[in-house]
Symmetry: C2
Subunit: 326 residues, 2 copies
């Protein structure tokens, strides 16, 4: 692999001049420029980004930390972050945490200093203290009770959950369950609160099912238990579309009709939900907006502006489909 020095030798100039040409510096004698450019192609020179970054003190990469790429919401989000990052000439390095605090701490540790310019992280179970040793700029996805001087971007989960449950109430449903409670996930607490508040406004309460993971399997198990209970619900609000997919399947397995016997609402707007039978009513966050905002925020931080922590609240909408208005 040719280095600047090789090129300089071939062109008969100093490395400085070659560097100037490579970096588009304007004032290079035309004759030298030509010779350098020829040497550049002759050697097939490609800059060593590692060396350049070492010198510049930047890495050219950012980290994206998510629970799991197997969860469609995060896969889609990751794709959008990749796209947004490319606009800033950033490479993206992805880490999976599996949604555990341990995994999240490991991820934070693994990308110690100098490996990325900053990180976009979607924490599930992190405590404030876990951020102590963190090096670079950080943007948090989702709302968190963590009172840290960090940028956040995400939707209003409480309001979104309220919207979902109100939709069910408007449809005349009265026994509305929630599936997805989790002891130490911040978003779960918020969505649960939205569920509780919307019901309270109507003078109601509803059963709550906890899950260990946000996977289809867990949604199916929770739904099965709910349907087999003495007082089965006439509607279910699931905290993500995977849980909802499992719930739909459990209903089908029992011959329970959706939405006839029980209406189902999800959260995330995975494309799979739009194509299933019945198609899934869901809360649709603006994922592209989230990805873009997160990367832009990170860029500003990395550029060193000394800004106060910001919270960007992205919009969402309720997409009504067959699982509630078949």
């Amino acid at each position: 692999m040719a280095t600047l020095k090789d090129v300089a030798a071939l062109a008969g100039v100093s490395v400085k001049t070659v560097s100037n040409v490579v970096n588009g510096y304007a004032f290079v004698k035309p004759d030298n420029r030509r010779r350098v450019e020829e040497a550049l192609v002759a050697t097939g020179y490609r800059p060593n980004l590692g060396a350049r970054n070492l010198r510049r003190g930047r890495t050219g990469s950012l980290a994206l930390v998510v629970p799991e790429l197997g969860i469609p919401y995060f896969a889609e989000l990751a794709g959008l972050v990749l796209r947004a990052a490319r606009a800033h000439d950033w490479n993206v390095l992805i880490q999976q945490t599996l949604g555990t605090r341990e995994g999240e701490r490991e991820a934070l540790a693994a990308l110690g200093p100098h490996v990325v310019d900053g990180a976009v992280i979607s924490p599930e179970a992190l405590r404030g203290t876990d951020f102590a040793g963190v090096s670079g700029p950080l943007v948090l996805l989702g709302e968190h009770p963590l009172d840290l001087p960090l940028d956040h971007v995400g939707i209003d989960n409480v309001e979104a959950a309220r919207t979902a449950v109100r939709h069910l109430l408007d449809l005349g449903r009265r026994r509305i369950a929630a599936i997805g409670a989790h002891p130490d996930r911040a978003t779960a607490a918020q969505r649960l609160r939205g569920h509780r508040e919307a019901l309270a406004d109507a003078g109601l309460t509803g059963p709550v099912a906890s899950v260990e993971h946000y996977h289809r399997r867990d949604g199916a198990a929770a739904m099965a238990a709910l349907l087999d209970s003495p007082e089965p619900p006439d509607a279910v609000f699931c905290f993500n579309d995977l849980l909802a997919a499992g719930a739909l399947r459990a209903a089908a397995d029992r011959g329970v009709r959706v939405p006839g016997d029980v209406a189902v609402v999800g959260f995330d707007d995975d494309e799979a939900g739009a194509y299933g039978s019945p198609s899934l009513t869901t809360i649709a966050p603006d994922k592209a907006g989230i990805a873009r905002a997160a990367v832009d925020l990170l860029r500003e931080r990395v550029d060193g502006r000394d800004l106060p922590p910001r919270r960007v609240r992205t919009p969402f909408r309720l997409r009504i489909r067959e699982s509630t208005v078949g």
Copy 2:
């Protein structure tokens, strides 16, 4: 950020000794070791990986190049590659190509030399000549007619497609369509060939639908056209589960029963297919095996062994579900 030099100064030793401690070199005087370790924690020292890699001539990262993370198969595969790479202390940098030749060439170019130690790439439309300027070790996912001295890992697509179509024939279906033909995708050609051959063995032929993308939308459109044709098929083999999901939806929209009127087989074994109604019969590749093999192969190449190009053929199985044997 503390450097080796800072630590050395604080501990009153040379950088070499600190480096020895940091790198777990055995022979350090206990007293010095203790002092260095104290200085290490006192300064909160974290090695500058960029500098270390510059020196070692490695980057500590590998690239994974896939069409799109929005496609569940690639999202899941990416998650598995992430996991496999962690076992080798590799960070993974993901690039999306959107399945176009242009995107694939850009991805190859973007990760010029020095940014990754090597790449795992899942090419769709790449020609042999596009690999000319590639720097490091490369492992190709899927089988490709490209006659390049590169490692490949993937399943036998022709045989897998044959298996899918034979299953349909065994069920008594006689008009078996294929959805997913594409002019310049290597895997499409292979699956098409399997379809054709299995039918030919039974003295049959079947309609073939081309698609532009491998998305649900395209599957739905293709299925709609097939069902509306003068001689609708009694079975459909889709080249991935997304196309199959679209096909199932199109059938449902027309009141066509699956598998009663038309049986559907997919490819990839996305988990969504197992939970849908009807659940989807599909070809299930060993994704974890593919991810592991690819990363292991890359590791050997990076370690500089001068090996001949290898092809690892990973197993697959047919998962029979409701969409063919309701």
